[in-house]
Amino acid sequence: MNRSAGQITAPLGEPTALSRLAVGLRALGSFIRHKPLGSVGLFIVLLFCVLAVLADVIGRHDPDTIFEGSNPDYKADPTTLELARNPDIGSPVIVEQFLEPSGKHWFGTDKFGRDIYAQVVHGSRLSLIVGLGASVIAVVGGLIIGMLSAYYSGVVDLFIQRLIDMLQAIPFLILVFALTQITEASVLNMVLWLGIAGFAITTRLIRSAVLSVRESEFVTAAKVIGASDLRIMVRHVLPNVGAVLIITFSIGIGAYILAEASLSFLGAGAQGVPSWGKMVQAGRASLDLHPWLTVFAGAAITVIVLGFNLLGDALRDVLDPRLRGV
């Protein structure tokens, strides 16, 4: 009812906004129809975004809360042998560590007596912040540097190109690891360093896109009529490299999320926040004894990276000018 009413009034009242919405919806519908994998990716990504935003509500428990219970085996003055047999014997209150998944703790508890479900749900925040944040830095940084480099060919370009070569000559993981070692292990620093290490790749992609646009007739025409460099870049070049930007952005996210997990493996992860990478790393040595320590976090990483990659691939199929219309 409402929708049809809106459609009727739209052409009369506010034509642009609503018709844009309609176009957008139609594009989305077409995307879902033609790119089912991409739609699955989109769904996964949206799901994790909801998890991250509503973590405090959905998470059931505070991820930092330590659950404790009384110890039925408590003995006041245990001998060393008794202690070796039952390490908790000397304490009347014990941390509820390594509890199996149950109604109270859906995914069980970890070594520290914390709820794993809450940790997994809250961990989506770090993954999204790291993935999106690093990708934004990489793309924005790459855009600025790439455009400068492409537009002002010559010494500036040459120098920037060599710097980029340098960043690409050092293996990505080792470069980020090295950079994180210099600064405090905070989330912000991690995002920053991942983005900076990543923008070598984006700069290169954006630069070549800008180069091809720069040679086109409309830019030459704009130059002839005396448009300023800034104006040409913003009005003519930028819109034409938009597709490359979106593709680079979406493909990168999954890689940064994985890189965060790998950094946790190397002991360089961010401190003080629930991190899936750290959870997998901490639990993998006793995978057979307490599988729930790693299974849920490992699956979460896999699914979110899968989601971003499927979405990114579909976007590329749709937006890549070379494949357009396929």
């Binding site: 050092i170 090295a178 070692q181 699914v303 899968l306 396929v326």
Partner: protein, 319 residues
């Protein structure tokens, strides 16, 4: 042509110089004292005089610019010095020990990666947007998405549980010493690493194939009634593979230093493994030399690929 090569050569040397300089100063920014790092937990017991003596012995008492000048001059003469953590041997010795392992592992990973990626990329381009395409691509991306230290740990447990084969983490055999033992040692890491790297190659091949399949010569081939399988293998695949194979060289160069996690998990004393442990031990000469080595690898490979590409493909202008 010669001028182009010369220009690229100067550029390559400059990049190597930049990398070395960057690593040199970055290492000096790291918190912690290399002279005390080898003491680990016992560092709390060292006396200030002993620390000073050790710093002097390692040349760390000099001002940074002087250390840099020394390093530069030594490196130019290919003298990489001696590891802080193992005096009496040269860094070259360490490289000679660890590089073969990294190369072996990287080649195996490449073989697995490409032999999985090429069929998948091919099939998913031919059957674009059909279920074969969806299933294969999802699998490839799934392999990329699962953290390698998780999948490798699961695979290890399976090997241990069912006593499948020996993973010789102590003898560390090379292929030319004991091919069988080396193969089983590398088996889990090579598949874990190979699968994880599949997606990138698969994507590249798929998009190349899609592009080639729309080219006029493919259309012509089809029009003249050639069988579809011949069209694909003779005309499309051959052309689509060219850029994929050129990527191969560069991929190998970057893989060599990137297998830190797998090398750690399977006790492979390769380059990545050495770099990270040298980082924790603040062993500057080792980190500098190994990163520089990888940089030289990458830069040289890029250089060679570009030149070869120019020779093969006359359309590329040497401007």
């Amino acid at each position: 042509m010669q001028q182009y090569i010369l220009r690229r050569l100067i550029g390559a040397v400059f990049v190597i110089f930049l990398t070395g300089t960057f690593m040199f100063f970055m290492l000096r920014l790291l918190p912690g004292d290399p002279a005390a790092a080898s003491l680990g937990l016992d560092a709390g017991s060292i006396s200030p005089e002993a620390l000073e003596a050790r710093n002097a012995e390692l040349g760390l008492d000099q001002p940074a610019y002087q250390q840099y000048a020394n390093w530069l001059w030594d490196t130019v003469r290919l003298d990489l010095g001696s590891p802080f953590s193992k005096r009496g041997v040269t860094v070259w010795y360490e490289i000679g020990r660890s590089l073969p392992y990294s190369i072996e592992l990287s080649i195996l990973i490449m073989i697995v990666g490409f032999s999985v990626a090429i069929p998948i990329g091919l099939l998913s381009a031919i059957y674009q947007d059909r279920w074969v395409d969806y299933v294969l691509r999802t699998l490839a991306i799934l392999a990329l998405a699962a953290p390698v230290f998780w999948t490798a740990a699961i695979a290890t447990l399976a090997v241990l549980q069912w006593e499948l084969f020996t993973i010789d983490v102590i003898a560390q055999p090379h292929f030319w010493e004991d091919p069988g033992a080396a193969f089983t040692w590398y088996l889990v890491p090579m598949f874990a690493g190979g699968f994880a790297g599949t997606a990138a190659t698969m994507r590249l091949l798929r998009s190349q194939m899609l592009e080639v399949l729309r080219q006029d010569y493919v259309r012509t081939a089809r029009a003249k009634g050639l069988r579809e399988s011949l069209v694909i293998t003779r005309h499309a695949l051959r052309n689509a593979l060219v850029p994929v194979l050129t990527v191969m060289g560069v991929t190998l160069a970057t893989i060599i230093g990137s297998q830190v996690i797998l090398e750690n998990m399977f006790n492979i004393p390769g380059i990545g493994n050495k770099i990270i442990s040298a980082f924790f031990g603040r062993d500057y000469p080792v980190v500098q030399a190994l990163v520089l080595l990888i940089a030289v690898f990458v830069v040289v490979t890029n250089f060679v690929v570009d030149i070869l590409y120019g020779i093969i493909d006359p359309r590329i202008r040497f401007s």
